[in-house]
């Protein structure tokens, strides 16, 4: 029994967070957030893996007694990807507005409040 794949997924999440904190560019920060979310895909799929299992789709090679991987976490991963796309697009739209109004996408330049 190994926990290494779970650690990989979690490491991707944490690296994304570090990227957001160190970011000098809002577009870069949005991409880092996407990377963090990708770590959750890895974690979910790792949880559902069954050694020797095949894709959970009934057919000529898969019957009820065949060992398959977990379809529930795959469905959750699909949801995760859709949410990621929605969040990314919204954030990029906000970044566009900031770039237009403030002429910068460096978060450190966005200190002062605009009256």
């Amino acid at each position: 029994m190994s926990y290494y794949p779970y650690a990989v997924g979690l490491a991707i999440v944490l690296l994304g967070i570090i990227g957001i904190a160190r970011s000098r560019d809002l577009v870069h920060a949005v991409v880092c957030l996407s990377i963090s979310q990708s770590g959750t895909y890895v974690l979910l799929l790792a949880v559902g893996f069954d050694r020797g299992g095949v894709a959970p789709i009934f057919g000529s090679t898969v019957s009820r007694s065949t060992r398959v991987v977990d379809p529930v976490v795959q469905a959750l991963t699909l949801t995760d990807i859709v949410v990621s796309a929605a969040v990314t697009s919204m954030l990029l739209a906000v970044v566009l507005q900031i770039a237009k109004r403030r002429d910068t996408v460096d978060p450190d330049q966005l200190r002062s409040l605009e009256g």
Binding site: M1, V47, D50, P71
Partner: protein, 255 residues
């Protein structure tokens, strides 16, 4: 707070998180183990509902209500982007002059692959219940196919082939179709999103009851959503001139 201080603080916090995760990890069932109680239940349910693709069965039958929420999230984000990415009063829309050079091979590849990609998207949506894929995946593929026009340097043609008003309607229609299936399930079988259609034979195209119908509704909504999203961003990038003097200077230099 300097970047250095910020990074140190972050690393202190992350060290705590890592310690907690390292403590939690050994409590998980090991990677690749053979005990998956949810898997067993989901596969049994998918078999009884004659849905060959167990992932589609989970998404569009066993937890279809959640998928309705998922589709709504995407549509809400389209509305949000449309609200944020719009022309400011001081901006003006201009007809884009042809700029940049597209390789002839790129142009041809885009033309050849456009119908193929849209067809593949439709295929992935249609067979969502019996093969890998489904409404979300197929919708994304089809929307990508249409945007090959942009990669091939034909933005004008893309604008003509992409009646945004129509896609706003189809996006809403996709959501309405999902709702219609949900309410019909309530009326016919007594619960929202009940799988009320005959379920047919496992691995046949017309099997799995309401799953193909819901897949189709989601596919239409997702394809429309992505087209509208990308349209908003492309419009910003290509057709709207800023109010800043430097962009006007660019224009004068270019003309």
């Amino acid at each position: 707070m300097t970047p250095r201080v910020r990074l140190v603080m972050l690393l202190v916090g992350l060290a705590g998180v890592v310690v907690m995760l390292a403590t939690a990890l050994p409590e998980l069932p090991g990677f690749g183990g053979h005990t998956h109680p949810y898997r067993d239940r989901a596969m049994t349910a998918a078999y009884h509902q004659s849905t060959a693709n167990a992932v589609a069965s989970v998404n569009f039958d066993q937890r279809a209500f959640d998928t309705f929420g998922e589709e709504t999230i995407l549509i809400a984000s389209v509305m949000g982007v449309a609200a944020l990415v719009r022309r400011l009063p001081e901006e003006q829309r201009r007809e884009r002059r042809q700029r940049g050079h597209v390789l002839e091979s790129t142009r041809w590849a885009a033309t050849v692959f456009l119908p193929l990609t849209v067809l593949l998207g439709a295929d992935v949506v249609t067979h969502g219940a019996i093969t890998p894929g489904g409404g979300f995946q197929g919708g994304a593929i089809a929307a990508t196919g249409i945007h090959l026009l942009y990669l091939g340097g034909r933005y004008r043609l893309l604008e003509r082939l992409r009646p945004l008003a129509l896609f706003e309607v189809t996006e809403a229609a996709g959501l309405a179709g999902f709702l219609a299936v949900a309410v019909t399930g309530l009326a016919v079988a007594g619960s929202v999103l009940a799988n009320f259609l005959p379920r047919g034979q496992l691995t046949q195209l017309l099997s799995a009851g309401t799953v193909p119908a819901l897949n189709f509704a989601v596919g239409v909504a997702v394809a429309s959503s992505i087209i509208l999203l990308i349209a908003g961003f492309l419009e910003q990038a290509l057709a709207i001139t800023g109010h800043r003097s430097d962009s006007q200077a660019d224009d004068e230099a270019a003309s």
